[in-house]
Structure formats: C-alpha cells, structure tokens
Symmetry: C2
Subunit: 213 residues, 2 copies
DNA sequence: TCGTTTCTATACTTGCGAGTAGATTGCTTA
DNA sequence: TAAGCAATCTACTCGCAAGTATAGAAACGA
C-alpha cells in the first residue's frame, strides 16, 4: 500500500501512519512527564507516587511503566527537559555578537526565565540525593557544562574589559545561586511575571549594591 | 542528704546531680541531632532511616524516640539550629553602628558562613515538601523573619545613600539565593574555606559585574 | 483469518522503614 | 525495701508505594 504523504490530509483518515503513531506515543509520554513534573514541584519527588501521577491523568500506573522505565527515569527525563534550554542558551551565547557583558546579560536572562518554568524548577530542585549514583553523575556532568559556559562568558567579559576583574568561579556561583533561587520561591500562579523577575535580578547582579560614582 | 555544690568536685563523684543528668540528656540529644544532620546532608532526608542514624551512634532506634518525638521532629530541630544563628545575626545587625551598607555587609558575611555549617546546610536544603503543613508553616514564618530583617537592612542602606536605589524585595532574593547556594555545592572537606567563600561572594554582590567608572 | 505487537487494566508481590509494645536494668526517692 | 522513673534493648506491626505478572482489547501485518 502507498504511504499517504503528510500533505494528503483532505479527509482525515482514522488509520494512523507509522509517524502518527510515533507522535501519539511521544505525546502521551509528554503528558506523563508534564503531569509528573507538576506534582514533583508541588509535593516533592518522594511525596509523589506514580499512582498519584497516573490518577491525575485518568490512567493506571502500569501505563506509565509502558512509556518510562521506572520512577527515577521519570524524574531524570524531567530534569533533562529543564536542562536542555539552558544548554541551548549556553550554545547560543558562544556565537553571539556584543561584549562579554552583553552576551552574559542575555544568557542570564534566559537562564533565570528557564528556571521558572515547570521543568526548570524541577531541574534546580533535584539534588543529587534524589538520584542513583549513575543518574546523579549524568545530571552533574550536564550541569557542569552549563557552569563552564557561564564561567567562560564571565572570563570573556573580564578579558574585554566589559566586566570588572572579579573572581570568575565565585562570580559564577553567585550568579547561579541568585538565579536558581526563584525555583524555590517563585509562585507561577502569583502576580509576578517571570520576565520581570529575571530582569530585576539581573539588574541587581550586574549593578551591585554599592552606589556608582 | 546534702546536695553537692558544683564547686565541690575535688574527687569526681559517680553520682550525678539533677543538673548533670539534664546536661547528659541534652548532650545525648545533641549527639543524635549532629549524627542525623550529617546523614541528611550527605544522603538526603528520605534516604536516611532512623535506624541508620541510630547505628552510626551505636544505639538503637527506640533510643532516638526516647529523645525526640518522631523523624520530622529530628529534622525540624536540625533546621531550627540552622536558623538560630541567622536570627541572632539579624537581631545584632539592627543595633550595630555604621551605614546601612556596612551593617548589611556584616550580616551577609554571617549569613553566608552560617549556611555552610552542618545545620545551616540542612536548613537551606529543607524545603517545605519535606515537612508536614504545620512544620512547614513554622519554619516558613521563621525564615520570613530573617528575610524581613534582610529587607530592612537593604532599605536602610538605600535610605541613607550607602546602597544604590535598588528594588528592595528583588535584591533580598538575589542576595539570599547567592548566599544559600553554597549549601548545595560547598564541600566542607574541600580546600575552600567558608570564610573565603563568604567574602568573595559578598564582594561580587556588593560590587556588581559592571566595571566602576 | 490468524499470529503479533501495542496499549491498557486489575490485582498482585515485596521490601523498606516509621513507629510501638513490652521487657530489662539500675538509679532515686519515699 | 518497695515504688517509680529513666534509659535502653529486642522484636514486633503495619502501611505505603515501587514494580510485576497476567490478561484482554484493539490494531496491524501476512
């Protein structure tokens, strides 16, 4: 039989193609992860059972196991999805124009915003203690890459004079800490927009507390 | 029989006075908490069983229950001990001499150092999700007091001109985030001294990234 | 049409760890 | 000397939630 092209959709057929089925499957997997990450953020990983997650989707626990290997994999997949936009932002910052400070500022804004969405919050809040040694090592390596990119941006800025001659490592920790913290306190349902928070935090960090000249 | 005064200790008696016994009890309770907080920090609260804690002290679980009501109370007591030095520092900062910025700087240094000791780390890492609603509310109220003190110090500095006209609330979050973060990454057994880390972080936060005129 | 794969459910097993019962020992006090 | 209390143990109960065995329905391919 001839495979229908994706363009040939005049009358939607009930028969799914291979790609459609793969997409269906991916959508269901996504739905599981979205439900899980919300509950992890709201109640914590250990306080969330996969039965709870399943119930919130109107399905049963074995269905989750059909899409994901085990509970830790559900968590690591959520963390991965929180990490990915950071990796992309770090990648992008490398080849952008502008001074070190300008490139850093854009990266920090992305970083802060990302940390306030569902997967970003989960990523920040998931410490090594929740994961198996292997899982923790993988995640740590990927976080380390982000941190390296951050340090490089700072060093670039120091080198081109757009950033004061700070201690690069400690500065990276200070920035990361300040921008990770909203994952703990920010309420997505509250009145403060993530963009505004990100902008305010970045302004404080770049300007410092001491009054300028 | 006459109670021995605490001065009459020429030959240490095996018979304990009431105060000595109370002190003994307090010491044992402390030992339980110190053992527990170390394991909570190393492996996480949920991954630490009270059997583990007991074993590390060469005692049995019911002995822990003799000194503390339940597992959550072990945790909340650890968190309290992490919070207490912060409360004292906040209290002290109120009545110290110096500009707003100077008082804030001293407070921030205390804050950062405290967050790197055993109980401080536990305090920072213990999110609401680990506690019962009642426990979480109590802890949150006490953290809120610290945050209020921090905001007041910032506002004082802005008012007296020693701090730039920043957004007080966001600044408090940025500072707290940056100084809480070492609770996640600092290794007490590593080469970096908490004092040096605290100083470096505070310098970055006060000075900012942008070069000064 | 028939075997195979996909998806889903019900109903189970299993292990861990919080918390408890009850006994024991020894000091304290009436 | 007996009652009481403090401190500790061994040996349990019990509930929860991760993960599994198994089966049935639908879709698919040959």
């Amino acid at each position: 039989m001839a495979l229908p092209t994706s363009a040939a959709q005049s009358a939607p057929s009930p028969f799914r193609t291979r790609e459609e089925k793969m997409r269906d499957r991916a959508e269901k997997r996504d739905a599981v992860l979205r439900a899980a990450v919300r509950m992890f953020n709201a109640r914590g990983y250990h306080a969330t059972s996969l039965d709870d997650v399943a119930a919130s989707l109107g399905i049963s626990k074995p269905t989750i196991y059909h899409y994901l290997g085990n509970k830790e994999q559900v968590l690591t997949e959520c963390v991965s999805r929180g990490l990915e936009p950071l990796r992309l932002a770090a990648e992008a910052a490398k080849s952008e124009p502008g001074s070190g400070l300008e490139r850093l500022r854009r990266f920090l804004l992305d970083y802060a915003r990302t940390n306030m969405d569902d997967f970003g919050r989960c990523m920040v809040r998931t410490g090594d203690e929740l994961l198996s040694p292997e899982g923790a090592a993988q995640i740590r390596a990927r976080k380390r890459d982000i941190d390296d990119a951050l340090r490089t941006l700072i060093a670039d800025g120091v080198a081109d004079g757009s950033i004061a001659p700070v201690d690069v490592k400690m500065t990276a920790f200070a920035l990361a800490g300040a921008l990770n913290w909203p994952a703990r306190w920010h309420d997505p349902a509250g009145p403060m927009a993530p963009d505004a928070i990100a902008a305010a935090l970045v302004d404080v960090l770049i300007g410092g507390l001491a009054p300028r000249g």
